[in-house]
């Protein structure tokens, strides 16, 4: 085992079935050491199952799982060098904060003094020095969350697993805690696998995102890649907001395609090699509104919501309803106005389904 494999996670053709239900179809996955990878997807997509398979809380029906280059497919959670932060934190209510943090060490018969010292270091790392004698119930939600993180990292796991760790925190605290988790992970150089259904949270913390759907991987890549180069309608819609306009690809050249969108011919960026039916991805904030003119697509405003920093419009056009976010708030259009919707073709993407 070389140093480069410590902390890596690899799934080869992993299948998980519960009776007749398939929770994961032939999953291949790899996590590089020291990276934070997020499993993102709607509920029921298999992301939590994947995490629990890494933890050893579920056993794979087929395929093999390697952690740190070692085959752990048949090892139960007790014997894997991973630790997990739970959605509900799962702090033991009858133990003090220190006992909680030291638990993993004491069950491994680490000498008491050493365990206490490591626990204290762990608490210091998450900024809870001096809270050791309290009970979990005497801490706030954010503090409990950090105890759970400390408890997981004092074991110096090869992989740290986080199962929707922020879902029980209120919106403002969430941003703060996710920054802290990211900082600790980078400072310690931990490999981490993070599960969430919140795409903004995923974009904010991850080195890499694996988007899952219907028990398989839909697309993986850096947050930037996923947003800018979605490979499917689903990804385009799931990562950020998007309007999906049906169109026809008539022909393509290098990096570019000619499409027909409501009888108009457009040249848009395209890396694929397919012709025929497709969808044009139009991000709401890339769309501009202007007085009706020959350029762009004409439509009627059916709904407008003023949000302070922006206005959100729903516009009924010949290619369907469009959702537009406009940062021009000083001179808004009114419901019923006719407008022309325009965009820069360089900002669009084509997805074929």
């Amino acid at each position: 085992m070389t140093n480069t494999t410590i902390g890596s996670v690899r799934f080869d053709n992993v299948v998980k079935k519960y009776g007749a239900v398939t929770a994961l179809k032939k999953l291949d996955l790899s996590v590089e050491p020291g990276k934070l990878v997020t499993l993102l997807g709607p509920s029921g997509c298999g992301k939590t199952t994947t995490l629990r398979l890494i933890a050893g809380l579920e056993m794979a029906t087929e395929g093999s799982i390697h952690i740190g280059g070692e085959d752990v497919t048949h090892l139960t959670a007790t014997y894997r060098k991973v630790s997990m932060v739970f959605q509900s934190y799962a702090l033991f209510p009858h133990m003090t904060v220190r006992e909680n943090v030291a638990y993993g060490l004491t069950v491994k018969s680490v000498p008491k003094a050493e365990a206490a010292e490591k626990a204290e270091n762990g608490l210091e790392l998450v900024g809870l020095k001096g809270f050791g004698d309290r009970l979990p119930s005497e801490l706030s939600g954010g503090q409990q969350q950090r105890v759970a993180v400390a408890r997981a990292i004092v074991l110096e796991p090869e992989v740290l697993l986080l199962d929707e760790p922020l879902s029980n925190l209120d919106a403002k605290l969430r941003r703060h805690v996710r920054e802290e988790i990211r900082q600790i992970q980078q400072r310690l150089g931990l490999t981490a696998v993070y599960v969430t259904h919140d795409q903004e949270e995923a974009m904010a913390v991850s080195d890499n995102i694996i988007v899952m759907r219907n028990a398989e991987i839909a697309q993986q890549g850096s947050p930037h890649d996923l947003y800018e180069k979605p490979n499917s309608e689903f990804i385009a819609d799931f990562i950020g907001d998007a309007n999906l306009a049906p169109c026809e690809i008539s022909n393509y050249a290098k990096d570019e395609a000619t499409i027909v969108l409501n009888d108009k011919k457009l040249k848009v960026p395209y890396a694929g090699t397919q012709t025929g039916a497709a969808k044009l991805v139009l991000r709401p904030h890339h769309l501009k509104l202007a007085e009706p003119s020959k350029q762009g697509f004409e439509g009627e405003i059916t709904y407008a919501a003023y949000l302070g920093k922006e206005i959100q419009y729903t516009i009924d056009t010949e290619m369907g309803e469009l959702f537009v976010v406009s940062s021009v708030v000083s001179n808004p259009f009114a419901i019923g106005n006719r407008v022309s919707v325009q965009w820069d073709n360089a900002h669009t993407r084509l997805v074929t389904s």
């Binding site: 497919t73 959670a77 739970f86 509900s88 638990y103 119930s137």
Partner: protein, 722 residues
């Protein structure tokens, strides 16, 4: 794992060599055999000519050799699994075949003096040998699957399955065999005419002035009792939850009463009130100048007593059901312009339907299983549970008849039990969700309220009268004839001769036996029940449904049937337990286990599963997780299981009455004996003392539970809600 298997093999081998294989004359744990120097250990027996002990020795030697020679863990485990399973099987088979008397399998094959002489029941050595082989097997199973199974979990499953197998299925099987027995052998043909005879299933009471079969009698009584208790229970539950009735606390007491009342006590009190010399009977007779009747010693008396005994159980079930109807549904109905009656009729009542069915089935099963009331009152109306008893202890002992009646009773209760599981198990009208529901339940409309009051309140009054009779009756000289105050009954039962310091009362013996046995049985019941609950809630394994079903099954087996099956199964080797106190403890543990399981499941479901998972991912194994996380958080459930099994052990009579012996008599069977002798005063005084004993025990445990609960739930709730 290798170490674990090896140490169990060593324990087994040592037991085989040094401990007495068979039951010793002086008892299970008596040490006299060492002093006597009798060569009674497995090894010595074998050398002395009982060659059939050889497989046990070989199994251990092979097992140990396998551990030391095979390096590959999976191959080693599989080989050990095979050899140990064969060994255990051979030990069981020789125990079942080579007995002292009775029909024997393979009679032609097994000849020879030592075999004909047979062997006594298995003792400490055989028990430990079997136990160690069982754990070798489970450890090997854990190891021979894909990678590292959990030896602790599989060991626990194996142990519980074996115990339930030996102490529930094995005895029930004996009843089945007995039912097919005819003189000198077994016959299939004889069974059906006997089983379907008119004595059991006859319907002649419908057409003429004849009596019906006992099974029909039982069935009719059970249906009536189920319906009656459900109706009364619903009335009480509605009053409790939907009205401003003031004495609600008094109603709550009603729910505790049946738990602490020995089952025949109600029947006794009814005799005092409505019997030939009963207070009410004499009063009415004088008033209307009619001959006092004997109606209480028949269907109506038993029915009345069962209604009194089991209405609180229906109340307990239905109060949860009535409270479970979400207020917002009723409020929604009312905002849709339904009036209170319509809301009740079309919304609340349909939502309660599964609960009502559940209460009915409970009443039905309880009535079928009830032994005490029919025994005391049912001289004019025979039912299955008592007929079984008389078939065993009557002037003509007829075990085959008892077995057939037991099968009839078992058929009825099991059908009800299955119906409940199949039909109610799937339907869920549960309206309690995670969302906070802050509305108010609709109050009852006036007509309905009047009906509830009119049925429930007189009933409550009657219950109070019945219980005061019990206290009052214990202080009068001779009920119905001489009502002067006396302490005589208490002195006869619980007198202490202070001069000599002796407990001279006649009841002391059985009282102390009861307390001792209940105190031993209670923690064992709690342990088995909670361990089962843990496996059911927290572990995944093949055959879990069958496992759950078999552990709950003993709930559906009436006590009389259990009692009969135990004397049929454990009166002979290989497991010879009758006449000991061990059999009493065992019968309590396996009768009351389902309640421990239910309580444990409820408590365990409230503990977030991620607590276990957190512990496991932090590197703890299941055993450590149970010890350090689950058990400390289960305090209240443990104490509740303890209380319940303690109290049930004290009040139980149906199974016990078959199993007591002169040396180990229990309070309830002692009291029944006094009732049969007509010593009502003594019986009632003793019952009162029992009730007070149990109240004290409940209070003490409740104080402990209460104190722990406050602190614990506070903590748990805050963690979860944060």
């Amino acid at each position: 794992m290798k170490k674990l298997s090896l140490s169990w093999l060593m324990i087994g081998l040592v037991s085989f060599i040094f401990l007495p294989w068979h039951m010793t004359e002086d008892g299970f744990l008596d040490a006299a055999w060492i002093v006597d120097g009798l060569p009674s250990t497995g090894l010595f027996q074998m050398l002395a000519g009982q060659w059939w002990h050889l497989p046990a020795l070989l199994t251990f030697i092979i097992g140990i050799v396998l551990q030391l020679t095979i390096p590959n863990p999976v191959v080693r485990a599989k080989a050990t699994l095979l050899s140990s399973s064969i060994g255990l099987l051979l030990i069981a088979v020789q125990g079942l075949i080579i007995v002292r008397a009775g029909p024997r399998l393979f009679e032609m094959l097994l000849t020879g003096e030592t075999i004909i002489a047979g062997q006594p029941g298995m003792g400490l050595g055989a028990g430990l040998v079997a136990l160690s082989l069982l754990f070798v097997i489970t450890t090997s199973i854990a190891q021979s699957g894909k990678g590292q199974g959990d030896a602790f979990v599989i060991g626990a499953i194996g142990l519980i399955v074996s115990l339930v197998g030996i102490f529930v299925f094995y005895p029930v099987m004996h009843i089945l065999i007995q039912a097919f027995q005819v003189e000198g052998g077994y016959a299939l043909g004889e069974f059906f005419p006997k089983f379907f005879s008119a004595d059991i299933w006859g319907l002649s009471c419908l057409v003429g002035n004849h009596t019906c079969g006992v099974a029909i009698n039982s069935l009719f009584l059970a249906v009536m009792t189920g319906a009656g208790t459900t109706f009364l229970g619903l009335s009480f539950a509605l009053i409790f939850t939907r009205t401003n009735f003031r004495a609600k606390k008094l109603l709550r007491i009603l729910t505790v009463l049946p738990i602490i009342t020995p089952p025949f006590v109600i029947g006794l009190a009814l005799i005092l009130l409505f019997g030939r010399a009963g207070t009410v009977t004499e009063f009415v007779a004088e008033l209307l100048n009619i001959e006092p009747g004997r109606w209480v010693y028949g269907f109506w008396g038993v029915y009345f007593a069962q209604l009194l005994s089991f209405t609180p159980i229906a109340f307990l079930v239905l109060i949860g059901v009535v409270q479970g109807v979400s207020p917002s549904m009723e409020e929604a109905s009312q905002t849709l312009d339904a009036d209170r009656w319509q809301t009740f009729r079309y919304v609340s009542l349909p939502l309660m339907r599964p609960g009502l069915a559940n209460a009915f089935l409970l009443g039905f099963i309880e009535s079928l299983a009830d032994f005490g009331n029919p025994l005391v009152l049912g001289s004019g109306y025979s039912v299955l549970s008592t007929e079984i008893f008389f078939a065993i202890v009557g002037s003509v002992a007829d075990p085959a008849k008892a077995a057939i009646l037991a099968i009839a009773l078992l058929t009825l209760t099991l059908s009800a039990f299955m119906a409940q599981r199949l039909w109610l198990g799937k339907k869920s009208y549960a309206t309690i969700t995670g969302k906070a529901d802050s509305g108010q339940n609709a109050s009852l409309n006036p007509v309905l309220r009047t009906i509830c009051y009119a049925t429930a309140l007189p009933w409550a009054a009657l219950t109070l009268v019945v219980y005061s009779m019990i206290i009052f009756g214990s202080f009068v000289k001779l009920w119905g004839y001489n009502h002067s105050f006396t302490w005589d009954h208490y002195i006869r039962a619980f007198g202490i001769d202070f001069a000599s310091g002796r407990f001279s009362g006649v009841a002391w013996d059985s009282y102390f036996t009861t307390l001792t046995i209940s105190s031993i049985a209670a923690p064992l019941t709690a342990l088995v029940g909670l361990a089962t609950a843990y496996l059911l809630v927290r572990q995944k394994f093949v055959g879990k449904n069958a496992f759950e079903f078999s552990t709950m099954l003993s709930f559906a087996i009436p006590g009389t049937v259990i009692g009969v099956s135990y004397i049929m199964a454990f009166n002979f080797p290989p497991i010879e337990l009758t006449g000991t106190s061990i059999i009493l403890i065992i019968v309590f543990v396996f009768r009351n286990m389902p309640v421990g399981v239910r309580g444990g499941i409820a408590a365990m479901s409230q503990l977030d599963k991620s607590l276990d998972e957190a512990s496991i991912t932090l590197g703890a194994n299941s055993f450590t997780t149970v010890k350090r996380v689950i058990l400390p958080l289960m305090g209240p459930a443990i104490l509740a299981a303890l209380t319940y099994s303690f109290v049930r052990a004290i009040t139980s009579v149906s199974a016990v009455i078959f199993l007591v012996s002169a040396k180990h008599n229990m309070a309830t069977s002692f009291i029944v004996g006094r009732v049969e002798n007509g010593e009502f005063g003594l019986a009632i005084a003793y019952s009162a003392v029992l009730i007070i004993t149990m109240l004290a025990a409940i209070l003490i445990l409740q104080l402990l539970v209460g104190a722990r609960k406050l602190r614990r739930t506070d903590r748990v709730q805050q963690t979860v809600s944060a």
